[in-house]
């Protein structure tokens, strides 16, 4: 198999999976499609964490952009009266990109734990600002009115299906786009930066500007995930920016693995399914159940769930 073939086969596999998931909307139970909607939205943020992890940076504050995306949608609907889902998502993403352009200047100077803690500090400052904004409902947040889709205003379960299909479509498009990015020269350089930044410098590339671009990309898809979450759940609150939310994203990133663009999606689905059944089966001790299962997965699959698939592909290739 040549490189070109593999490239195309991954993309067609992603698209085929997306089509299958979209078709599933009409047969799967409603609760499952809602769970998947939120999981895919979350996976977009996790993808943002993953592309930074590939460059050696761990963001403990990706919830900053998740929250900005959510509040962009919420405020766009409430204050500006926009009802179109695409416009709202674009608004949230744009806001996040602008913020990332500013924060990126500062943050790309930092590495390792300092990058992690600074991103955390920024998202907690946003959290504080939102908590102090009683006009925005403080910690209670506020509800996001159901959006329309290019003038179409579905009701009830049809609306949930529409949001699900929209999420699957956006997730698939993002996955294909970011697969190309990760396989591109730029994406490859990110791994080189992780391995040895100074050598990349010697190659005549500027690691700082590359990381800056990477940071802004990550912010954009995280905001997209936040916007989709806001539309799907119909509610936003400052918890979206709280550090535990960021922690969950990093957790899922490690759980899924950083080896492939599909890994965050697998990680997010597995995490959501384990969590919801832990809550159902052990309402008093679901955290412990979740912790044990996840600890087990991490210990036995330190490269994430994706390593199972990667290995299998390797075997098939042989």
């Amino acid at each position: 198999m040549t490189f070109q073939d593999r490239f195309k086969s991954t993309e067609s596999a992603l698209v085929a999976t997306a089509v299958l998931l979209a078709a599933g909307a009409f047969v799967m139970p409603a609760w499952l499609s809602f769970l998947l909607t939120l999981a895919f939205a979350k996976a977009l943020v996790v993808l943002g964490v993953v592309i930074q992890m590939r460059a050696g940076l761990v963001s403990f504050g990706q919830a900053l952009f998740f929250c900005i995306g959510g509040y962009g949608v919420g405020l766009g609907a409430q204050a500006l009266g926009i009802s179109d889902a695409f416009l709202l998502l674009a608004l949230g993403t744009l806001a996040a990109v602008l913020l990332a352009l500013i924060c990126g200047f500062l943050l790309t100077r930092y590495r390792e734990i300092f990058f992690a803690m600074l991103t955390l500090a920024l998202s907690m400052i946003l959290y504080g600002v939102l908590v102090k904004s009683s006009a925005l409902g403080s910690t209670d947040g506020f509800n996001v009115a159901p959006p329309s889709f290019l003038g179409w205003e579905p009701e009830g379960e049809t609306r949930k299906q529409a949001v699900y299909l929209l999420t699957v479509a956006i997730a698939a498009a993002t996955a294909v786009g970011f697969h190309r990015y990760l396989e591109s020269g730029l994406g490859r350089v990110m791994e080189a930066i992780r391995e040895n930044e100074i050598r990349v410098d010697y190659l005549g590339l500027s690691p700082r500007w590359l990381l800056f671009a990477n940071y802004v990309f990550a912010a954009a898809i995280s905001a997209l995930g936040g916007g989709l979450t806001a539309i799907a759940s119909g509610h936003i609150d400052p918890d979206m920016a709280f550090w535990t939310t960021s922690g969950e994203f990093v957790f899922i990133a490690i759980l899924g693995g950083t080896g492939h663009v599909a890994a965050p999606f697998i990680g997010a689905i597995v995490f959501s399914v384990i969590r919801t059944f832990a809550i159902q089966e052990a309402p008093h001790y679901w955290q412990m159940a979740l912790g044990i299962v996840l600890l087990g997965l991490i210990l036995f699959l330190p490269k994430g769930l994706w390593s199972l698939i990667a290995r299998r592909k390797l075997q098939v290739a042989k």
Binding site: F34, L38, G56, S134, D140, G141, T276, L301, L308, R311
Partner: protein
């Protein structure tokens, strides 16, 4: 970052198998078994579990077990609901509003519950409100205090709240303070820095200034939720030297504040007003000075009246859980009894449908351990009840705590008419309030 060594390979199959098994188990677990399924959502972990969530969950278990045995006093002596056995599905409320909307759907669509009772956090209530209407499942909020629930859902059909909102508490607190401390000149505030604390203080000071315009605010302290250490705040409050300190602190934070403030003499000459203080009455012992003003968010817990239902509930709960029921426990019983009364109102036998429950509950007047509850606000979806405040009294000899000098304010004295925002109503001087 270092690279990790490769482990020997595993096939992908186990995960796929586990996932599909889990999904199948979820679908099968919800099989129709002829019981009336109620989803109960309350905090089982985190800071709100001890003071609110777990007492409420215990109260739900006790009430449902007793109902299934048909042993509740009249008018609730019919077995279960309408003769149908009740089954509960309990879920932890911790984890934030987005997760709760997901779990609410799972309860209704996967676990196939017939009704949902729950939610302590105001943010969760706001997020669930539209979902309840959309999924057309009778949903009763038993505790959350935000006044925005029926602003979010203006024409509720499936959504109800059998408890009061926090505005009511604070209007009552303001009235109580002025009536019992007419010489009051200065007031200070210490609130947890989140929606509940901010709203509580805004409502309280608005009402207080309306009733007694010459009151001065000398200090406002805003520690984080679950801060735990209030040393600097206590110093600042001491320095500002107010007559009265208002606080909407709850649970562990409240107990810590009283502990640390008490040890430093903060309350020696100053009176604290604790709008959610009732949950601490059985625990304060001699750590909280006598005369501290406490509220129970309605006629609950230590404020509950004497009636046949309370004569059953209080001893039964105390016997089973080794401590007297606090207000969250009362509010949970109230929600379950409201649901039962609604389902049985039409007199139709057998499994009650959603429409039957919803029609029955709208505008209903029913009995609870706290007295009569009237669903007469928000088009028959919001309960109206009285609110009581009183002073904490501890008798060192007997080791018993009680609440004295109790004043009870009727719901019509504290609540704006339908369609008026609470803040506007207070600012206008409480028009139409009927106080006794």
């Amino acid at each position: 970052m270092q690279h990790l060594p490769r482990k020997p390979s595993h096939p992908i199959r186990p995960i796929a198998v586990a996932l599909s098994l889990a999904l199948a188990a979820g679908a099968v677990g919800a099989a129709d078994n002829g019981k009336y399924r109620i989803g109960i959502v309350t905090f089982l972990s985190g800071a709100a579990a001890g003071p609110f969530g777990v007492p409420a969950a215990n109260a739900a278990k006790l009430t449902v077990d007793t109902l299934n045995a048909g042993k509740l006093p009249a008018p609730y002596n019919v077995k279960g609901i309408n003769g149908v056995e009740i089954e509960t599905v309990i879920i932890d409320e911790a984890g934030g509003a987005t997760k709760q909307t997901e779990e609410f759907r799972n309860l209704v669509q996967r676990q196939k519950v017939d009704a949902v009772i729950g939610y302590i956090s105001s943010g969760d209530c706001l997020a669930i409100a539209p979902a309840a209407e959309e999924l057309k499942v009778p949903t009763i909020f038993f505790d959350c205090g935000t006044s925005k629930v029926f602003e979010t859902v203006k024409n509720p059909k499936y959504l109800f709240r059998t408890g009061l909102d926090a505005v009511v508490d604070n209007v009552a607190a303001a009235r109580y303070v002025v009536e019992t401390r007419p010489q009051l000149k200065t007031v200070a505030s210490i609130q947890q820095n989140y929606a509940w604390g901010q709203d509580s203080w805004n409502d309280f000071i608005l009402a207080l200034k309306q009733i007694k315009p010459d009151v001065k605010v000398v200090s406002e302290q805003w520690p984080k939720l679950a801060q735990g250490q209030y040393g600097a705040e206590i110093s600042a409050l001491s320095v500002s030297n107010p007559d009265v300190i208002h606080s909407s602190f709850w649970g562990g934070d409240m107990e810590a504040l009283m502990q640390q403030g008490g040890a430093r003499g903060l309350f020696d000459k100053r009176i604290a007003v604790l709008t959610a203080g009732e949950t601490g009455v059985e625990r304060f012992k001699d750590q909280v000075p006598n005369g501290t003003i406490v509220g129970g968010r309605g006629p609950f817990g230590a404020f509950a009246p004497k009636n046949a239902l309370n004569d059953w509930f209080r001893p039964a709960f105390t016997a089973q859980y080794k401590e007297p029921p606090t207000y969250p426990a009362y509010k949970m019983v109230q929600a379950i009894l409201g649901l039962k009364a609604a389902a049985e109102k039409g007199g139709k036998a057998g499994m009650p449908g959603a429409e039957q429950v919803v029609q029955g509950l709208t505008g209903l007047s029913f009995e609870a351990p706290s007295g009569t509850v009237q669903m007469s606000r928000a088009k028959g979806h919001q309960a109206v009840q009285s609110v009581s405040f009183g002073e904490y009294q501890y008798d060192a000899k007997s080791g018993k705590a009680s609440v004295t000098k109790v004043k009870t304010y009727a719901g019509d004295c504290l609540m704006p008419p339908d369609g008026t925002a609470p803040a506007d109503w207070i600012k206008a001087g409480f028009p139409g309030a009927k106080c006794n």
